[in-house]
Symmetry: C2
Subunit: 179 residues, 2 copies
DNA sequence: GTGTGCATGTAAGGAGTTACATGATTGC
DNA sequence: GCAATCATGTAACTCCTTACATGCACAC
């Protein structure tokens, strides 16, 4: 059985919410998964073709006039495969790459006294992410009892937590300077 | 001015703590940065040579008997370049890839009633990361006033926060089943 | 008639991991 | 003597992003 790559798993996951075009999938990912899972057209379109060749998704033409549009839907095999993956014990990819933390980690070595500038830069960034998730979740109007909206709520909570941590650090650094 | 790639920035950052061999750098990254920044030998060794060619690090031979060992140290130019990056306003890479959240997000579509299995799997994983960071920070004995140990403390706090969130979700799911 | 959004796709390249190869030293 | 650790390195590969190319539809 050919292994599915991470993008393939994510695409099957998006299609479990309903049939979509490549364009729709990108919009869905940007709107809801983005804070813990990103994808670009360059990975989505080729992968959809591969999944179709594997029989895990079915393509149907949905052109409007002269504008082409292909809608993909999970096949029975695709749904089974997705379910199998969700329930499997395979190690879960968990990657975090945060240049802000990296900067902060070494700031006292190369720029002692300027750590606060790094903290402020990070605060701005997390504020932007928070605004983006909030805007999106308000628009989406998902059932709050379902796991999708719970995961979105976690995104908000996570960035709020980090924001508070950074604000506390900022105060600590400021009070140390006075002493 | 040639752009430094992310690995180059991280390597310069590690060297700001003192001269190290490629092997040391890997051990340092695994021990302290790992939860927000990973690196493999396959990226470290070639990058060190490139940094040496750019004059940002200096290499000195430190062989013991027949076993070779090369120690790298920041040059003045390297330290200046690192400082410049830390204080710059360049956008900070922030990437998060969490298959656990992805699974959770779509679990109710393909495996309703089995969400708790995913939650338990995630809890295990975060517990492992917590244990790893705690072991490492106890061994390291860094000055708690300095940013490096503050960042490590954030790692612990973040995974504790996530653990608590998952435990609450587990309880919520269980009480819904009873109703 | 023009800008914005819908829609699909590819080529080139960057970034990084995995797996492998090789060998010395140290502690038991 | 054997396992674990120290130590360096490369080749093949995966994964993904960026930049580009193309064209239709709709609202103003």
């Amino acid at each position: 059985m050919d292994e599915l790559n991470p993008t393939a798993r994510a695409i099957l996951g998006v299609l479990s919410f309903g049939p979509s075009s490549g364009y729709d999938i990108k919009a869905f990912v940007d709107g809801t998964l983005r804070f813990f899972w990103a994808a670009s057209y360059g990975s989505i379109y080729p992968e959809l073709k591969r999944l179709e060749a594997m029989g895990l998704v079915g393509a149907s033409d949905d052109a409007t006039g002269g504008r082409k549009r292909t809608v993909y839907a999970l096949t029975e095999a695709g749904r089974a495969r997705l379910r199998e993956w969700v329930l499997s014990d395979d190690a879960l990819t968990y990657e975090m790459r945060d240049e802000g933390l990296l900067k902060l980690f070494l700031a006292s070595n190369v720029a002692p006294g300027d750590e606060d500038a790094v903290v402020r830069q990070m605060l701005l960034r997390h504020q932007e992410v928070l605004d983006a998730i909030r805007t999106v979740t308000e628009t989406n109007d998902l059932d709050p009892q379902r796991t999708p909206s719970r995961v979105a709520a976690y995104g908000v909570a996570l960035h709020e937590f980090t924001t508070q941590w950074l604000e506390r650090l900022e105060r600590d650094l400021a009070s140390e300077d006075k002493e």
